[in-house]
Amino acid sequence: MPIEFALPDLGENIENGDVVSVLVAVGDTLVEDQPVIELETDKAVIEVPSSISGTVTEILVQQGDTVAVGQAIIKVEISAAAAPAAVPPPAPEAQAEAAVPAPQPAPTSAGPIEFALPDLGENIENGDVISVLVAVGDTLAEDQPVIELETDKAVIEVPSSISGTVTEILVQQGDTVTVGQAIIKVEPSAAAAPAAAASTAGAQETTATPAPTPSPGTPSAAPAAATPPAPITAAATTTPTKLVPAAPSTRRLAREIGVDITQVKGSGPADRISIDDVKAHSKKLHESPSAASSIAQAAPLPDFSQWGEIERQPMSKVRQITAQRLAQASSTIPMVTQFDKADTTDLEKWRKEYGKKAEAAGSKLTPTAIIIKILGAALKAFPQFNASIDIASQEIIYKSYCNIGIAVDTPHGLLVPVVRDVDQKNIIELSVELGEMAQKTRDRKVGPADMQGGSITISNVGSMGGTAFTPIVNPPEVAILGVARSSIEPTYVDGELLPRTILPLSLSYDHRLIDGADGARFLRWICAALENPFVVLLEG
């Protein structure tokens, strides 16, 4: 009996990818670890190796398909000899985040109790009262709508969680009410009357889902006009899910609030998804808007075709992620760019002199390799540049390692592989590594792990030109060094006007962590070291 080989957990929070190519065919004999497909994820192009051996009986995906972790890729007839456990869809790591329960009034027997605006989920903190649906003296049943509230997501009815007689209305139409604020006072009935009064329209909706429910008070003539909030993910499809481990009520909530439940990690036994898991997932989506949603928030575009011919092309994964990360960096980091110039006349002379040694080692002695070495030394001298900010815990994280990211221009877009432990490597070693890595990057063979863990990034556009530019910090790093094109400029040296090679440098940094003076000092130190590498030995 053939078994399915599903896309295994690729780590790195990778949830899906696009199939670049299928590397096996029906009838192929497949051995363990043999690549099955080439997959483009938002991090890199990777080959997915098989974890089973056998004969391929069916290919379930094709080029261009988006495949999610756990989705079957191929079917394999296990060879009789080796029929071990089929690879199960990887169990997503349990991730529990208990949602705050809706505040419940303490059931005291003495006197009226307050009913406060419960947690409405979806990060809704407050809303404006459109109408009050109960009056003093009304008998209130549990789940009966109390007020109609307009939040920034939708108009919703807030159902009561208590029953009794309404003794006081504490809000009125137009008021802004925050979660936890008292709305009405209720004298609880001695024997909590069941929802006899609320057996008609609207009473079925017992949860505080932010979807409109026709109100019994206002027989709505056009209920379809009140539309639920716009989805925050692309989950608003009508494709039924298959056997998601979640209760029907949980699956319904996910649908109603536009969460793709197949993307939710369950915290229950064997990854069972609870309502709290769905809410936590939704919260997370709101906190870190995905590329799709940040694009969705952009201003509407005009119809460009009115001015001439246009062509629409889908954004590649790399482009999507670049757009998202740079927008996030630009909007969350207060950035300053410091400019300086280094006289690299002597350095260039030495570089040509010692270039042969690098060639013997199989590489070219490039300015970038030298700058990496000097920048590594600068990080030792200025540890606040080898740091990250943890705003949540109000801490600064200092790193003892010294890894430098290199922005590489590839046909697929901008990628930033990281050269590790540059402080422990000499310039020739760095040159060799850099050469290999650049090639690997252009071939899109770098993995997600190769592009993480940088301390600081270098963006060298010198080969293209330019006198200066303002690079954008690559978070969670706090600085980026831009290198423009060096040129021969007339320069006074000891009172004499001489033609010197001048290299313009631009340092953008996170002003939250780095003060202007430090920025200037850091860049000057780098310039000084480029002019006289002895500085590195002395202070680096």
Partner: protein, 471 residues
């Protein structure tokens, strides 16, 4: 011209549930159905009358079996007219109740037949002879299905009945051939057998109740081997001849062997076809597939965005599925427009003696899709309650995901399986693990314990079923 927010065409368990739900959600609803009261095939000519007959069949069978338990009854006398009357009372009571619910909800109910004029207008031929047009914002098509009649059976004779005819109970034929060993054929075949008819079954496929796992069908197969004249599998009806003494049926089996037999009557139960042909779909963008089922998306929405279709018309085949779809579609129309029909488990029940019920994955399906499962089986021979009822031939099984222990399917054969299966549906819908069932206390002595004991089997030993450990 009259207008309505929501027009619902067909008052079966799909249509009337949709209508009631929509009315409860505050929508302006018009329900169009041919009968005085809602009910559809289910109440008038299907589930409900057949259950009434099967109740009588059960009584008859048990009274005969009672002899071996020490109680002997005289051979029962069957007053066919009173039996028919009682069955009709059941129908009237049920459909009349629905009629009252229509009035209580102040639903607009039109007795008549509707067909599309365009994607937002219906033409209605009313039962009272009037004609009308109705303009709607949304419509739900729930026109159901009817028995299929293959060409060879299109003979002008009252000796051929479909399920509707069989439920009319005009007489108790001396002999009857049930054509099609599916759910309807087996249920009605057993009802007539209990009333005294010599029943035979012919089925084209190699087994009875084709969609069920074979181990679940086994107890039924054994029972009908005793009570039916003959069960012919892998056999087709090639020709019919009406004679003075009955219908002569020409049969041919898989090996090409031919035979001819004569029966008083034939019960034709070879499936049902959707009522999609005479409702004016051609005036809209609504598409049907090659078997004439209306094509819908996951929300039951047709190619006409304002029109939905549910139930047998889209191939649901089960009243409870139609009802669920109907309620969901009404919610969608009322503004919950993100809902999708996506159950994890739909129960199927065969109300024979013994009953068969299953939900979620079956072993056959698991095999077909290559999904690895573990099957935990608890035979009713080890159930106390089954022994007290002399129904030891049953079996309860769980289909379990080997990696997570999640329950993916439940199958039950035996008395009351249709009631027991609900626990399986809940377990699958709630994503229960076998251990959740194992650790839930089940009442003793009941047949429901067999579900718990099957879970115990999965974890090694059930207290009442010892199996030597496999090495």
């Amino acid at each position: 011209m009259n207008t309505t927010k929501l027009a619902i065409i067909g008052g079966g368990p799909g249509g009337y549930v949709a209508a009631f739900k929509a009315a409860d959600l505050g929508l302006d609803v018009t329900l169009i159905d041919e009968e005085v009261n809602p009910g559809g095939v289910c109440l008038y000519r299907g589930c409900i009358p057949s259950k009434a007959l099967l109740h009588i069949a059960k009584l008859l069978n048990e009274s005969r079996e009672a002899e071996k338990w020490g109680v002997k009854f005289a051979e029962p006398e069957i007053d066919l007219d009173r039996l028919r009357e009682w069955k009709n009372e059941v129908i009237t009571k049920m459909t009349g109740g629905l009629g009252q619910l229509v009035k209580a909800r102040k639903l607009k109910h039109i007795q008549g037949r509707a067909r599309f004029v365009d994607a937002h207008t219906l033409h209605i031929d009313k039962a009272d002879g009037d004609q009308d047009q109705l303009q709607f914002e949304n419509a739900i098509l729930a026109t159901g299905s009817r028995p299929a009649v293959p060409g060879v059976f299109r003979l002008a004779t009252d000796r051929i009945m479909d399920s509707t005819g069989a439920l009319e109970l005009n007489d108790i034929p001396a002999s009857m051939l049930v054509v099609g060993g599916g759910i309807i054929g087996m249920e009605l075949g057993q009802a007539y057998a209990a009333l005294g008819t010599k029943v035979s079954v012919v089925e084209m496929l190699p087994g009875l109740i084709p969609p069920a796992d074979r181990d679940l069908v086994k107890p039924l197969q054994n029972k009908v081997a005793e009570r039916f004249e003959e069960v012919m599998l892998n056999t087709q009806v090639t020709q019919l001849e009406a004679g003075p003494d009955g219908l002569t049926v020409h049969l041919q089996d898989l090996d090409g062997k031919k035979s001819a037999k004569t029966y008083d009557k034939i019960l034709l139960s070879v499936g049902r076809v959707p009522n999609s042909g005479d409702i004016g779909l051609e005036t809209t963008a609504i598409a049907v597939d090659e078997r004439n089922y209306v094509q819908v998306d996951g929300q039951m929405r047709t190619a006409e965005p304002s029109v939905f279709a549910i139930g047998d018309l889209v191939g649901a085949g089960l009243a409870h599925t139609a009802s669920h779809q109907g309620a969901m579609v009404s919610e969608v129309i009322a503004g919950h427009d993100k809902l999708v029909f996506e159950p994890n488990a739909i129960p199927s029940v065969v109300y024979t003696d013994p009953e068969i019920a299953w939900c979620g994955l079956t072993e056959e399906e698991a095999k077909k899709i290559g999904r690895r499962i573990k099957v935990a089986r608890f035979p009713w021979a080890a159930s106390g309650r089954a022994t007290t009822q002399d129904t030891n031939d049953g079996v309860t099984k769980l289909l379990i995901d080997p990696e997570t222990d999640r329950v993916l399917g439940v199958g039950i054969a035996g008395s009351g399986a249709g009631e027991l299966i609900a626990e399986g549906v809940l377990a699958i819908e709630m994503a229960a693990l076998a251990s959740d069932i194992q650790l839930s206390i089940h009442p003793h002595p009941t047949l429901s314990e067999t579900v718990m004991e099957a879970a115990e089997v999965h974890y090694g030993q059930s207290p009442h079923l010892y199996a030597p450990k496999r090495s």
